[in-house]
């Protein structure tokens, strides 16, 4: 029964993730006063790459790199329950907790970094180094906010956190939500912090050596992974969801905010984004933490 549950979760994440990405391309097209492609354009792109006649590979570690990345993304998805009280769509979250999910989010990129390193493309390695440099900066405010949320709801299990929010955390603890949003924008690779694969600087970063089916695997896992992160943010800060419709509109609102935020700002340099993320959101998070713990108990 749990296998069916996992399969359903995977399929919903795959389709909803790609439809969100299609909507993203349409909305940014509208920002730029043009029509933009169909919503299913990302499906066509990834399936076309699956259909490529052949793909260049640099040895078995290169072959396994994207596979580990996809494994990391799918494992993160499995350990995040979609709804806080219903038994279905809870995946493996019964066996895991929030710390595990935080670390699983880092497993995929590290695995892919091995593949990129073996590929031997200097641009790929520079993209990975930029990603790892930005990683600890974006994780600091996120960890402070998450730790505060955990101590407020006295549990590290995502379902109980989502369920125990009488007034949703975004309004109960606005400072924590703002700090987490800053790092969420960076996590989704949106504009001021999209330094990893900046085409103008690093020749499309880590993905510059992957072609054909590896590239489509990377595309599909990024769709699944972004949906998993959206669901995690909804569970932590927007009071979880008890029905599919509520889950969808909450994740879409969050996604819309991330797109709008990204469309206004140009790209920071890596040290600048690290500097910014370590200063502004971290201070907000610490102040939020103090308020939360002082008022919390």
């Amino acid at each position: 029964m749990i296998i069916l549950d996992l399969a359903l979760m995977l399929i919903t994440a795959y389709f909803v993730g790609f439809i969100y990405y299609g909507l993203y391309r349409n909305i940014t097209a509208r920002f730029q006063r043009r029509i933009g492609p169909t919503i299913f354009q990302s499906f066509y792109d990834s399936i076309k790459f699956f259909g490529k006649k052949e793909a260049i590979s640099h040895g078995w570690m290169f072959y396994l790199g994207p596979i580990i990345m996809a494994t990391g993304a799918i494992m993160t998805l499995f350990f995040i329950p979609f709804f806080y009280q219903s038994e279905s769509f809870s995946g493996l979250s019964g066996y895991g907790n929030l710390f595990l999910v935080l670390y699983l989010m880092l497993l995929g990129p590290l695995g892919n970094a091995m593949g990129v390193g073996v590929g031997g493309n200097p641009f790929g390695v520079m993209g990975v180094t930029r990603g790892l440099t930005r990683l600890f900066a974006l994780e600091l405010p996120f960890y402070i906010a998450v730790v505060a949320i955990m101590s407020i709801s006295q549990s590290a299990d995502i379902a109980t956190i989502a369920g125990s929010q009488t007034t949703i955390n975004a309004f109960a603890h606005p400072l924590l939500f703002i700090a987490a949003l800053f790092s969420f924008v960076a996590m989704m690779g949106q504009s001021p912090f999209d330094v990893v694969g900046a085409p103008v600087e690093v020749y499309s970063g880590p993905a510059s050596e992957f072609s054909g089916k590896f590239l489509s695997l990377l595309m599909s896992q990024s769709a699944i992974f972004s949906f998993a992160k959206l669901v995690l943010m909804v569970n932590l800060f927007l009071g979880g969801a008890d029905g599919f419709f509520e889950l969808l509109w909450k994740t879409f609102v969050l996604f819309l905010f991330v797109i709008a935020f990204g469309a206004i700002y140009g790209r920071f340099k890596t040290p600048q984004s690290v500097d910014f993320l370590i200063k502004v959101p971290t201070v907000i998070a610490i102040v939020g933490l103090i308020f939360a713990t002082a008022w919390g108990n």
Partner: protein, 583 residues
């Protein structure tokens, strides 16, 4: 000699395992030798057995690789003496024997270093080792002045009997001694050179086991002498936490800037020990500390033996001279991969178990800022972890030699396989060591870690199932691999290492494509990391040594050449001193 060391290590392993359950206890009353009131003895407590096990595992793995190094007989003799002194420290039941073991350990390490270290590094080590031993002796004497006994059991009454200022002095002296041995930031001046220059055979033992003695001593101090429940909230807890955090964060960012593999791993072990020191400042942090020290020992042994293998094969030890060894040495690559996954604390392997235990204790203890600082430090560790594996195995080979190099000899691989096996088992069954830790905690009258089954780890606030995690990981990985293999589009092997998307240009032999040296060089542009990287503690110590040297030269001028005149001056000076003392 190599076979002898192997036998001895097996003997040690067997000995330690026999002592596990037994209540072996051996005590002598020194009164019979004219020192009344002094009782010393050895006691196989559960805690001592655990650390002895770590010592035995360490010694066993390095003796396996001993066959590849030409070491003189004196070296082996000193090694066995070091082993004896370590067992002495661990099994000692009183501070006197503990001090004897500590002193013998420092001196034998110095003699072992003298084979490889440069003169300057040797001086650095011996100065710090003596300082640590002297302050330890000072602390023991202060404690003895109140408790009139060296035994741990009645050390606590002595400590309470001390006046407030004497208590502070005692704790400062003891902490100074243990921080030097642990290499906490600021006291790690000796550690960097000795780790880098000591023989590759000895460094794994040095970093994995010797640093554990500092942890053991800190535990004894906190549990027996200063009751651990009293300290939470006091200045001692805060100093421990802050020193631990500082050393983990600063060491992590310094590690990324290093070009030599061994220095990077030295900084990394400082950072990991920083976690343990931090968690020891919590009231119920002992479980996490024990688990993390176990994982740290296994990981550091694995990493340093792997590095020793690389240095043995390529005779190079810098990232800027290595690279592109993955397909020539696939086994050591996979073993290093397992090592760094557990070093980083990534979920499927055991590293996550110990970090998770530390995080839950911090969460339940309610000190959230320390928890987020530790999460931040472990997240920022990814950069030097990736630099370690990229610099050696991935990327492009720096010299043509690496394209025809062979795999590391079997002697290096066997210990690494055993250690990674232990790590994988601990990853799948994280709860496997909890029952033994609970016996330790019960013996020290501390509250135990909730235990459900071998595969579950954690408390009611947060727990996770190691077996489900590993099987999910392997299951999803195999499913995706099968899906990728089943696709009609075949993966075509690249012709050579220059067939990369390089903006239309064609790289050739002379193009530098290896990013090993320059990874992490951009961190100095970030505000606070730039501050860390720019100034270091060695500046402080160089200043002190210059002042001392200046003072000594001035003092030497006093000696005016003829012996008799100076002798009278000295005698007069002694007389004045005696008069002042007797008054």
């Amino acid at each position: 000699m190599r076979v002898l060391s192997l036998i001895i290590s097996l003997l040690a392993l067997w000995g330690v395992s026999t002592l596990f359950g037994s209540e072996a206890h051996w005590q002598i009353d020194m009164g019979s030798f004219g020192l009344e009131g002094v009782v010393i003895g050895l006691k196989a407590t559960a805690l001592a057995n655990f650390f002895a096990l770590l010592i035995a595992i360490g010694f066993f793995s390095i003796s396996l690789i001993a066959s590849k190094y030409k070491l003189s007989k004196g070296f082996y003799a000193l090694l066995y003496l070091l082993l004896v002194s370590l067992f002495l420290i661990v099994y000692a039941e009183d501070y006197l024997l503990f001090f004897v073991g500590w002193e013998v350990m420092s001196v034998t390490t110095y003699l072992l270093f003298s084979y490889d270290l440069s003169r300057e590094a040797l001086i650095k080590y011996i100065v710090f080792a003596l300082a640590s031993a002297m302050s330890l002796l000072g602390g023991i004497m202060v404690l003895y002045s109140a408790s009139h006994s060296f035994l741990y059991t009645d050390a606590h009454q002595g400590f309470i009997a001390l006046s407030a200022t004497l208590q502070v002095i005692f704790i400062l002296l003891m902490l100074f001694a243990f921080f030097i041995k642990l290499g906490v930031i600021g006291f790690h001046y000796w550690l960097m050179d000795s780790y880098e220059q000591s023989s590759d055979f000895f460094t794994p033992y040095l970093s994995a086991v010797l640093s554990k003695m500092g942890i053991y001593a800190l535990i004894i101090l906190l549990v027996y002498v200063v009751d651990i429940h009293m300290i939470s909230g006091t200045w001692l807890a805060y100093t421990l936490a802050i020193m631990g955090l500082l050393s983990s964060i600063i060491a992590t960012f310094k590690a990324v800037n290093e070009d030599s593999m061994k220095r990077l791993l030295a900084y990394s072990s400082i950072a990991q020990l920083g976690y343990i020191v931090t968690v020891l400042s919590m009231a119920d942090g002992l479980g996490g500390a024990l688990y993390h020290s176990l994982i740290h020992t296994l990981v550091k042994l694995l990493l340093f033996i792997n590095i020793a293998g690389i240095i043995y094969m390529t005779a190079r030890s810098k990232f800027s001279e290595l690279g592109g060894l993955i397909y020539r040495m696939p086994q050591s690559f996979v073993l290093l991969l397992i090592g760094i996954i557990s070093l980083a604390g990534m979920p499927p392997l055991a590293g996550f178990a110990s970090k998770f235990l530390i995080y839950t204790t911090l969460l339940e203890g309610g000190n959230l800022l320390i928890l987020s600082a530790m999460l931040f430090a472990s997240a920022s560790a990814f950069l030097y972890i990736y630099k370690l594996i990229y610099g050696i195995y991935l990327g492009h080979p720096t010299s043509k030699r690496y394209e025809t190099i062979r795999e590391v000899p079997l002697a290096f691989l066997i210990p690494q396989y055993l250690l990674s096996l232990l790590l994988i088992v601990a990853g799948v069954y994280p709860g496997i060591v909890i029952p033994y830790f609970n016996t330790i905690l019960k013996e020290l009258r501390l509250e135990t870690i909730p235990f459900e089954s071998y595969t579950i780890l954690g408390s009611e606030m947060a727990s996770y199932n190691g077996f489900v995690l590993m099987s999910a990981f392997v299951g999803v990985f195999v499913l995706i691999l099968l899906f990728m293999l089943s696709l009609r589009s075949k993966a075509k092997e690249a012709k050579d290492r220059f067939d990369i998307a390089y903006c239309g240009e064609v790289p050739d032999e002379g193009t530098h494509l290896h990013y090993g040296f320059s990874m992490g060089k951009e961190l100095k542009r970030v505000g606070f990391i730039g501050v860390i990287l720019r100034n270091s503690s060695s500046v402080f110590y160089d200043y002190i040594s210059r002042q001392l040297f200046g003072f000594a030269t001035v003092f030497r001028k006093l000696y005016s050449g003829n012996l008799s005149f100076n002798f009278n001056i000295a005698a007069l000076f002694a007389l004045i001193l005696l008069w002042w003392g007797l008054r």
